[in-house]
Amino acid sequence: MNRQGNKMVSSMVNEKAKSGGKGTLDFDVERIRKDFPILQTKVHGKPLVYLDNAATTQKPKTVIDTLVRYYTTINANIHRGVHHLSEKATADYEESRKKVKRFLNAAKTEEIIFVRGATEGINLVAHSFGKKFIQKGDEIIISHIEHHSNIVPWQILCAEKEAKLKVIPVNHRGELILEEYEKLLSPRTKLVSVGHVSNSIGTINPIKKIIARAHKTGAYVLIDGAQAVPHMPVDVADLDCDFYVFSSHKIYGPTGVGVLYGKEQLLNEMPPYQSGGDMISFVTFEKTHYNTLPFKFEAGTPNIAGIVVLGAVLDYVSSIGMERIAAYEQDLLAYATKRLTEVEDLRIIGTAKEKAAIVSFTLGDIHAHDVGTILDREGIAIRTGHHCAMPVMERFGVPATARASFAFYNTKGEIDALAEALKKVKKVFGHG
């Protein structure tokens, strides 16, 4: 589904032959690691092992170079000036929109709205779609394993509109219970908003089924793809979702940029979210006419540089291939699950059959925060805490977990380092 960036693929294939299959699945991870300057960093004298990719990902050199190039040679405001730089900046900005459209396989560029991140994408829908479509007595369905950013906007909307928020429960593996979802759906259901992949425990939700079932009842569907887009191919046409959001910084791009995909007809029916420059076609003190899509939802000067860089990021990951990235990360997940299971007293939280490369765990009675501090001294970066998903922690009866989340630049050697460091944690606490 991605059609760009053949150049890098061919160079990687050549390199691959030389590495003698060192990377699994014909995936030359050592070559990929060279693309990410920060991976050479030492932390407390040890090589950095970055396993906090669900929080944010590291940036390849080509992306950093694009940012420098933009500010060095192009910088101007967009959609306004008649001068050369403004035209160039506008062209690059709109080129990124085309790249996102192709990357998600959306039907039209008008359906790609640039926002600050997945959180703002969800808030945009909650405000704008909510204003137009949600009425007293309506129902919105989310799931028990959502990030707070896919809970709180709906709580606020429901409180304002006197609508009801319903929650799909999960089983002991952390999978949504679809029979219960069936029971929650009713003619009052106006929107179903679920994550594609759980940030806290890695479950890949069966969103295609969830979307089809909601549509049968007449409900719209938003998918929070923050944890999916960086790690697997996503095709919004095939999914048939009404909205899909993701954040650039989780897919090796800059912070402060995100994407809201929405079906054109629906976006046309929705009122503007924020108002100001760029989202208008003309303004008098009596009346303002709004601009057409996608500009209607892009008030004010956006993060132009970040959005241009996002286009470069999508070229980069497409050149490697999202299918290959997904396959390699699945291999890492299987290895990490095996190695961590071997650590005594380690309990993996979230054991769904369909999982992304995220392993959340507890280690005996040692608090996750202590685990995190000790691993940090070994150069290993993981996330500890509730992962902005407190209902998940409550569901599994733990106050917090330690979470290792992987990207395609991680290696099995790094997983070995993690397993060894966890044994050290136990030693500090006198358990080994």
Binding site: H367, H369, D370, T373, R377, P399, G430
Partner: protein
């Protein structure tokens, strides 16, 4: 570079394993909740104040080794002290955790609470150690709301 042993000293690990005064105090007349949203540490302090004196004190809750040990050591230190003495101690601990109180003579006066001095080398963990003390302050000032380190 601070060593891990500066943070996880024996006395801290020991208090984490066997926290003192870890129970509900039925006849408490002051109570406060402490919460650290960053790591999910939660504790409830029960205090029995008689006149000016902290007659008894206990706690419940869950948290990391640093927060649990800090709370355990705090309860065993302030038990029997006056409210004014406890407040003075709060200031000193605050100084130690923020790295401002460094005089060996002053630190020595803190007895086993000195074990927490290593925490100031681990900025992300300072709140874990200070939660118990902020919660104590809140209980003694009789604020009913849950206190948070954020």
């Amino acid at each position: 570079m601070a060593d891990l042993r500066d943070l996880y000293q024996e006395v801290i690990l020991e208090h984490n394993n066997k926290p003192r005064n870890f129970k509900v105090l039925a006849d408490a007349n002051r109570k406060a909740e402490g919460y650290n949203p960053l790591c999910g540490d939660r504790l409830v302090l029960f205090v029995k104040v008689d006149g000016d004196t902290i007659q008894d004190i206990s706690f419940q809750g869950s948290g990391c080794a640093i927060s649990k040990a800090s709370t355990s050591m705090m309860t065993s230190t302030v038990k029997g002290k006056t409210v004014a003495e406890a407040s003075q101690l709060f200031e000193k601990i605050h100084g130690m955790l923020s790295g401002q109180l460094t005089s060996p003579v002053e630190l020595e006066k803190l007895g086993k609470l000195q074990a927490l001095a290593g925490v100031c080398e681990f900025p992300a963990r300072v709140k874990c150690a200070s939660l118990a003390w902020h919660t104590l302050k809140s209980a003694l000032e009789n604020k009913s709301n849950a206190i948070s380190t954020e």
